[in-house]
Each structure stands twice: as C-alpha cells, then as structure tokens.
Symmetry: C2
Subunit: 409 residues, 2 copies
Amino acid sequence: MSLNPNLTAERPTFVTHLECSMTGERYEADQLHGLSSVGRPLLVRYDLDGVRAMAPRAMIEARPTDLWRWRELLPVRRTADIVSLGEIETPLVPIPKSGGPNVLVKDEGRLPTGSFKARGLVMAVAMAKALGVTKIAMPTNGNAGAALAAYATRCGIETIVLCPEETPEVNVREIAAQGARVYRVNGQIDDCGAIVGRGAAEGRWFDFSTLKEPYRIEGKKTMGLELAAQFRWKLPQAIFYPTGGGTGLIGMWKAFAEMETLGWIGPERPKMFAVQASGCAPIVRAFEAGEEHAERWEDAATVAAGIRVPKAVGDFLILRAVRESGGTAMAVGDPAILKAVDDCARQDGLLMCPEGGATLAAYREALRTGLVDEDDRVVLFNCATGLKYPMPEAGIALDRHGEIDLGGL
Amino acid sequence: MSLNPNLTAERPTFVTHLECSMTGERYEADQLHGLSSVGRPLLVRYDLDGVRAMAPRAMIEARPTDLWRWRELLPVRRTADIVSLGEIETPLVPIPKSGGPNVLVKDEGRLPTGSFKARGLVMAVAMAKALGVTKIAMPTNGNAGAALAAYATRCGIETIVLCPEETPEVNVREIAAQGARVYRVNGQIDDCGAIVGRGAAEGRWFDFSTLKEPYRIEGKKTMGLELAAQFRWKLPQAIFYPTGGGTGLIGMWKAFAEMETLGWIGPERPKMFAVQASGCAPIVRAFEAGEEHAERWEDAATVAAGIRVPKAVGDFLILRAVRESGGTAMAVGDPAILKAVDDCARQDGLLMCPEGGATLAAYREALRTGLVDEDDRVVLFNCATGLKYPMPEAGIALDRHGEIDLGGL
C-alpha cells in the first residue's frame, strides 16, 4: 500500500539511449551496462522534446514533492520497478549565525539511511531490479553502502559491501543491520573497489562502484532538480559541494542542462565549488594545475571519510563542470572542518556531518578571499546526518541523593 | 533568508484561551503558564469558527507540506517568533514483509535532530521565545533534550538538560554539541524531573517537562493533522503509538476533534494503541485495571529508553483517548522489540528505533489476538531514527594483500 501517486501511477518515460561521457559513443537503453568501452561513465539521454510536450513544469510542480515526482526525467520505465523508503524533498535550512544571511544548508541527512547516497542508490537499485540483477557488490566509505543495503534488501537483491578499515563503526553496523554482508579491508576505498572489480570481471556480481553503473548519477541529479524547484526556477549564485566521487556535482550539472533545454530555467548557472579535504584533494590539485584528469592522491587522510576518495573515475566531468560554472575546487583542513561543524551546531542548532562542515569551512574561505560575496545566495550541501559521526564526550554526573547546587547548573 | 512562505507569511491566529485538561478552568492566552492550579496539563483552545471561515482545508493543502502549514491551528501569533530547522512532513513507508500489506510506518526519524520530539519542542521553544523566556530546563531520556537544545540554541535561549544515567551516550553528546549544558542523574526521568521542578519553583528557569508547559502538545498535534492530509481526510483504522509521556497520542486525539469540528474529517476515529514496554507499563496496568490514573512503575527497565517513563502527568488523557477510540494499551517485551527492529531492517530495509520496533511488535501481537485485522489500514510510529541506537557488531576483516576467496564472500 502506498498513498503517494508518484509511486503508483504509470507515467511515460523518455530514455532514448546512453552515451559515453568521454567519446559520445552510443549505447542501447534497457540493457545492463557498466563503464563505456574506454572505461568511462555512461550518461543517460532523454527525448527532451517528448518531456517538454508531455510533462510541463507546472504538472510536475502539482505532484507531491518527493524524488519520484521527477519520473519523466528518470530512467525507471515500469512503476512496478520503483523501490522507495520515502525519498522526501530535503529542506533548505538557514544558518544565519555560523554561515550568514544568505546561506542555506540543503540537509540531505533527512533522506532514507541518513544521507544523500539514498538518491543515487534508490535509482541504481531500481534499475538493477528492472534489468534482472540478483547480486551486487560495492566499495564504500559508509553511507553509500548503507543506502545500497537498505534498497537492495527491500527488493530481494543480495549485496556484498567492502569498506576501508577506517570506516566508522556505526556505518558498518548499519549496513549489516539492513541485510548486506559487509567486510573491512585494510586499505582505501579504491583498494576495496579493486576487489569488487575483480569479482565483477569473474561474473560473481554486478559492480555498483561510483559512476561504474549509469543510474546513480540520475538519482543524484534530483538534487539539481529540487534546488531549481525550491528556488522557484532561479538557481542560487553558488553551490558548495563536498566532492569525493563527485556524482552529485556531475548530476546537478546535467540536471541544469536538461532543465535549460526544457525551458524550465534560463542559462544562468551557480558557481560550483568542489570542496575537498586538504588530506585528500586530487581534484583541487588537478584544477589548479589546469589538468583534465586527476592523479591518485597517495596517503589520503581526513576526518571527513565521505570525501576520502583518492581517485575518481569521473574526475574530468567534475573538473569540466567546475570550470564551466566559473567556480573552483577548494581544499579545507580538518581543524577548519571540525570548527565549522561545532559552530553550526552551537550557534544555529544544526548538527552537520564533517563533509557538510567542509562546505561551510570552504564557504568561509571563499568569502574571505572574495570568491563569493555575502550578498550571494549560497547553498551548502550537508550530505549526511551528523548523528553518524563521533561527537565530543559530554554529560556531567549529578547525584540525586546529594546536595545539588542548582545555581551552579 | 527562507524560501518557504509558511515561515515568512503573516497569518491570522485563532487562540482564544487555555484550559485545564482536568477541570476545564480557563486561563488567559499570551501569558506564561505551567500546569493548571490542580497540577494538570493545560490545553490550548482555538476559535474554530474563525479557522473555518478564514482557513479552508483546500487553502492549507495548497501550501508547502511542512509543519508550519498548519499555522492557523497552532499557537504562535507572530511570524517573527517562528523557529525552524526544516520540519518536513514525514513519509509513510510501507513494510510489507515484516509488517504486512496494509502497514505504513510514519518515519519520524526524518525530523530535525532525528526524532518526533522536534514537533513538540519547535512549538514550545517558539512560544517560550514569544513569551520572553530566557532559560529553560528539562528532564529527558535523550531525544527531547536534543530537540530542545537545537531549537533553543537557534534563538539564543539558555538550556539545562538532565538525563537518567542510562541515557545512550550519543544522545548526551548530541545535546551538548547543540549548545545545552547536560547532566547525567543517577535515577529515572522523574528523578531528573524533580530536580528541574525544584529549580523552576525557585525561579531559576522555566520547566519544560512533558506536558508541564502547554505547547508541546500543540506541536505533536501536527502528527494527527499530517496523517489526515496524507490519508486524504479518511483516517486509518488503527494507530500504534509508543507511549511514554503520551504527548503525541493526546495531541493526535485533540487534532482529530478539532478537524471534525472544522468539518475536515468525519466522526470515524482510528483505534489508538498505546504501546509500552513490559518493563515499564504503567498505562497498560491502569488500562487493564479500569483506573483513570496510573501509578508510578517501580524499577522501570527496557531497551526502549524513550518509553521508560514510570509516571506520566497526562496519564488520564492517554487513558481517555485510548478508551474512547476503542483501542487498547499493550505491553511488549524487549526480545519482541529487538526482533521487530531486526526483522524490519533485514526484510524491509527500514532501520527503526527500539520504540518504533515496539509498535511493530505490538501490531503483530494485536494481529495474533484479533484486535486488528490484516485488512485494516494501520500506522506505526517510528518516533526516531534507528541510527541513534546500538546495533550489533559487524564487519569481517579482509586482507587486500592476501588471497581472497571471492566465491566465499
């Protein structure tokens, strides 16, 4: 039983084909694909003329606001293949004291399994279901694995999840609780990815690594669609996005292009700020060097595990979007990240995750160096609930039988 | 900056007065109140004829779906007093495998600070702000304190939070991270409440204990309003509600009455099931004994800390609502609670909190004993995100340098 028509109504779909993000080579829709023949991500293409004719913006605006309202711009053909745990439109929370008068945090921690990974995985799992996949493996720093486990479990797909040994305990336990088999590997996320890749090559499972299947990006794209709707089709001046694999940044950039073609938004774009941690900043290094690709970052280390990604298969797509937007790639140190998390919680009552804190730290730095102006409308992405991350010890003992100095409390 | 008109538009308000829930004695609106003169909760009353004339249902339905859409049925007079961290309408998630075909979980873990306590506290804090309160103290099993800390911090009100020593570490840390001073007391929540009450009597702070100020119930009422809107003004057959202080159950019951007076719903009501833990079931004991009030439960113990409430000041209101509805008060054991949490996560991919698990355990029991039918449309309240609670250890070590038997994964 569902009361949400977005999950139950049959709707026309408009996918025409997939294409290689590097060469433009064309691939058939409705077939199982990994990377393109040159080892790069595939992008889903739509008949946007068809969407324009059949799904006017006002029609979509009249629907409930969850992720599935965007169905005509999503790849899932049959309503029966939709999987859902309640993918609500995430709220924009002002942080006037720790950020500024024009800063809004898109609080992605409200999604199922507590992170924006739900957007990508709900779509990828629905497509895996549609295409008959029965076993999936994935490397993860934590949140993606939790989202995969939840959605795959929901539709009876078997999952193997590999995490770097530094992955927080709560993430590992959450993944297991939601029905996946989970392993800790003594290495980084790309070491986990290598094991997943080997098994996929041997036909043991389908590889769900970031951008190695074509549909997570379509799910993440909804962040861009939602922002446009929330800003009443006039995008903010800048977006600060915590960038590991970069699927969300690539996805939003794709969404903006699709919406412009549809006539839903104009040609103006936000400056895209790809935010990384100083201890793992391959995109920043490539951006500053003017390179199209980013080399692997050795000895990656940061408190923000979600952006501890030494090598991204979509590096060139991230770099292109950032450059086209007039934005920049920025690295921030762990102390600035932790201070931003602490300030935001203590001053504005919003507990961000470290990766979210990194965007606030980067915004502060961008303000200081004049990359953005205080009058600019800015969106920071808090990609997960702060509750999954370690917080400082607290709680002073009080003896109810003793003499309590109430004035001292 | 906010893009949500619910938070920025001035709207008419309709509070006429407050009244004692026991005697009906009348109290002035727009003044600071605690309990009534006989020590019972105060209820807020509205000019519902005025609401009917000025705020038709269709007008409210056209607004964004967050909690503040219900403004004409809420006590906050001035828009400037609204405090918000993005109180979204929480989704209804089907759990067909662990629950059944007609079971929906209202996933309150999506609210700010990860629990339904945000509903009550956002309202109480906004009213405290409106009425000039500068310092608040509260006893809490965890989640209420976190919500209080976040909202009070946001509008510069000082907060003291007292927790039983058994309160999970994550809750205590979250409260402190969000700017409150937090203490652990060697006792139960009512022992904490006694200390808070003493300080309030001495004029040191305002007492924010459950139902001891009149506005948390108005915030929790929105659960009932939301359910009606989500079910298109035809309520479900049964609601299973984890019952500690019972504010939400009382609030929903009040909401149903107000909506019937407004002509928004008919006279049909869901059967209300007040769910408690076998280790702390004062309401169940009173219900079964036919009493109007519930005696304190000694040596309370359960894994579901949120319903470890030995004595509820609104006991008679809970008991009345349950009886009027034709529902019942039910206790479930910790093993059944933990099994329900585990089943729901492993089968349906939804990680509930133990209190949410208690409602699933109670539903199963009610189904078995014929109190509800499998065809009945049923709502279970998952009152907080499962991420705040201990999960079993997981994660098998895998050596990337070693020989990995991929077939064995």
